[in-house]
């Protein structure tokens, strides 16, 4: 079975652009996968989606959807894709239900079938009572739902969502996330762009981290986390013995020194404690076996006569990964 999406050495340079908007990008998306393009604004995500959805012509390279080359055969490619853009492009001359049924008609869905699908989708998207409405007073979240319904009317192989939850209120955002998960369960291939780390983390099977038109890393969220050196992060919360002032400088403080001396630990970071219990929180970055580290860290704390309050593994966030890869924060 062919991949849902294949992109090989894709380059896009706009006539007046100073650099390549997409710069030698290659990746493949498996059927049924939810795939994320993650990066700051201007990273080339939208251009990449534009090429895959036939609206941008690549300067060089190859892009195929469901085995169809999007440049050579845009008409066949358009039959296979559904697109939910960043901002509403809904046809305001039509009513909600007509937006769905006409879209299906453009795609050659029979009259009876498009009525049935429109009913089902409006119901599923919580718009059943709004089919006859005009869009005039629809919020961003509602318009987003209509666009999602529209994109699904012709049962595309691949659904593209460009910054789907940008500018949405939290409730609409959760609603959309639920919908995307439901589509995933049904086996629809979903490609979404986002600069929201949490969104990518929650929804995507695999994520390509992009910056300046290039893919810096492509892996599962877990795989990306492992890119951070000393992949284990352990947080230790203790109450220090009274004799030692809590604000002692690093190195002079025996608990911290003991933790830093443990095998495999590459760095110890004193974190600001929370609450009023005068607890000290240390974050240990380490390589090697996590269970071993847990045990020896606990022993070290006890040996130094501090009280152990909590021990837990902290997961590096995708943001940490991004910072690690680019040396800078997400600009978005």
């Amino acid at each position: 079975m062919t991949a849902a999406i294949e992109v090989e050495h894709l380059v896009k340079r706009y006539p007046r652009g100073r650099a390549n908007a997409v710069d030698d990008m290659s990746f493949a998306v498996r059927r049924g996968e939810t795939f994320g393009l993650l990066g700051p604004n201007g990273a080339g995500k939208t251009t990449a989606i534009g090429i895959l959805t036939t609206r941008v012509l690549p300067t060089s390279g190859r892009a195929a959807v469901a085995g169809i080359d999007v440049v050579a055969d845009p008409i066949a490619a358009k039959q296979r894709i559904g697109v939910v853009p960043q901002t509403s492009n809904l046809d305001r001359s039509l009513r909600v239900r007509e937006i769905l049924t006409f879209h299906a008609a453009y795609h050659g869905v029979s009259r009876r079938e498009r009525q049935a699908r429109a009913d089902a989708l409006l119901e599923e998207l919580g718009l059943a009572a709004r089919g006859k409405d005009k869009l005039d007073w629809f919020s961003g979240g509602l318009q987003q739902r209509v666009m999602l319904g529209r994109a699904l009317m012709h049962e595309p192989d691949v659904l593209f969502l460009d910054e789907p939850t940008n500018n949405l209120d939290p409730q609409s955002r959760l609603f959309l996330w639920d919908r995307i998960r439901a589509l995933h369960e049904r086996g629809v291939t979903v490609v979404l762009t986002t600069h929201d780390m949490e969104e990518a983390d929650r929804l995507c099977d695999r994520i390509a981290i992009m910056d300046h038109g290039r893919i810096l890393a492509l892996d599962t969220p877990e795989g990306l986390r492992r890119l951070i050196p000393g992949g284990t992060m352990l947080e230790v919360r203790t109450r220090l013995p009274q004799a030692v002032p809590a604000g002692a400088p690093a190195g002079e403080e025996p608990v911290e020194a003991a933790l830093a001396a443990l095998p495999g630990v590459t760095a110890v970071e004193r974190r600001p404690g929370s609450g009023t219990d005068a607890a000290a929180v240390y974050r240990l970055y380490a390589t090697g076996d996590a269970g071993q580290l847990l045990a020896s860290a606990a022993q070290a704390v006890v040996r130094e006569e501090a009280e152990l309050l909590d021990l837990r593994f902290a997961r590096p966030s995708l943001e940490d990964v991004f910072i690690h890869l680019t040396g800078s924060n997400l600009r978005a």
């Binding site: 036939t54 012509l57 008409i75 697109v83 853009p85 001359s93 008609a105 795609h107 599923e124 529209r150």
Partner: protein, 276 residues
């Protein structure tokens, strides 16, 4: 809901494109029907006042000859057929390409983008034809006994109206694709007013003999040929003399030629706007 992972059967491109095109036409016809009342008011107010003031008031107070209404009517039909689609396409397209992007759903339908443009173009021309046709009953009501249109050249009248409406739509597409929506107002005043007033809509071309340089200027305006063609097809002989117009061969040549050239440029600009 049916299964979403089912692969669409590979369809013939031509079949898919045809179905798509027809569905887009259906969408536009629905919108035209829905907007009919406001559309008609919007397009017919201007011809109404022109007919009333020039055909009724000026002839009534003796500032124009009694036959002026008759001579004026073909020009009014021409500019209504011409201007209606011009404005419809340019404003629609300017808005769509500029910020609403409502056309995107059609551009993502399985048909060549050029057909999306041609559909818009054709349906706008249809609007022009409807508006132009409505001018006749309007003139009949306003001009009363001053309404004289020969009926033996109906096919020629219809043909000229179709050409005029297509030409208006073509120029509209050119403007809509070339001009940012924020500049449309400026372009309209720079383009439409001169087009209207040098287009022989209010005077037969042959009467400009005494103003030779202006007569030459009008030849560079395609609307001149539309108005002259309609005058040829509509005007009965006045006082036994047939009205002198530009030769129909030239009229057809220039109208068809400019239609092809302007449509070609407009489509190319459109294509460049929708695929970057």
């Amino acid at each position: 809901m049916t299964t979403l992972d089912a692969t669409l059967p590979a369809r013939g491109r031509v079949g898919a494109a045809t179905r798509s095109f027809l569905a887009i036409v259906e969408r536009d016809l629905l919108v035209i029907r829905r907007e009919a009342p406001s559309f008609l008011v919007q397009t017919l107010v201007q011809p109404l006042f022109f007919l009333f003031v020039f055909g009724k008031v000026l002839t009534g107070i003796g500032s124009a000859t009694p036959s002026f209404g008759t001579i004026l009517l073909p020009g009014i039909v021409a500019f209504t057929c011409f201007l209606t689609p011009l404005q419809a396409v340019s404003i629609d397209l300017g808005r769509d390409l500029g910020f609403t992007h409502e056309i995107d759903d059609r551009l993502l339908a399985p048909l060549p983008n050029v057909l999306v443009a041609l559909e818009k173009f054709g349906l706008a021309a249809l609007r022009g034809l409807i508006a132009g046709a409505c001018v006749f009953p309007l003139a009949y009501l306003v001009l009363g006994s001053g309404y004289h249109v020969r009926t033996d050249l109906i096919a020629e009248v219809a043909g000229m109206m179709v050409l005029t409406a297509l030409l208006g739509a073509a120029i509209g597409m050119l403007v809509g694709a070339a001009v940012p929506i924020t500049q449309i107002g400026l372009i309209f005043s720079l383009l439409i007013t001169p087009l209207l007033f040098t287009g022989c809509t209010y005077y037969p071309w042959s009467t400009l003999g005494g103003l030779r340089w202006f007569q030459v200027v009008t030849l560079f305006n395609p609307l001149t040929y539309a108005a002259e063609g309609l005058r040829h097809a509509m005007l009965p002989p006045i006082a036994g003399h047939p009205i002198e117009t530009l030769p129909m061969g030239w009229v057809l040549l220039v109208l068809c030629g400019s239609l092809v050239v302007i449509t070609g440029i407009g489509l190319r600009l459109f294509q460049r706007r929708v695929v970057s």
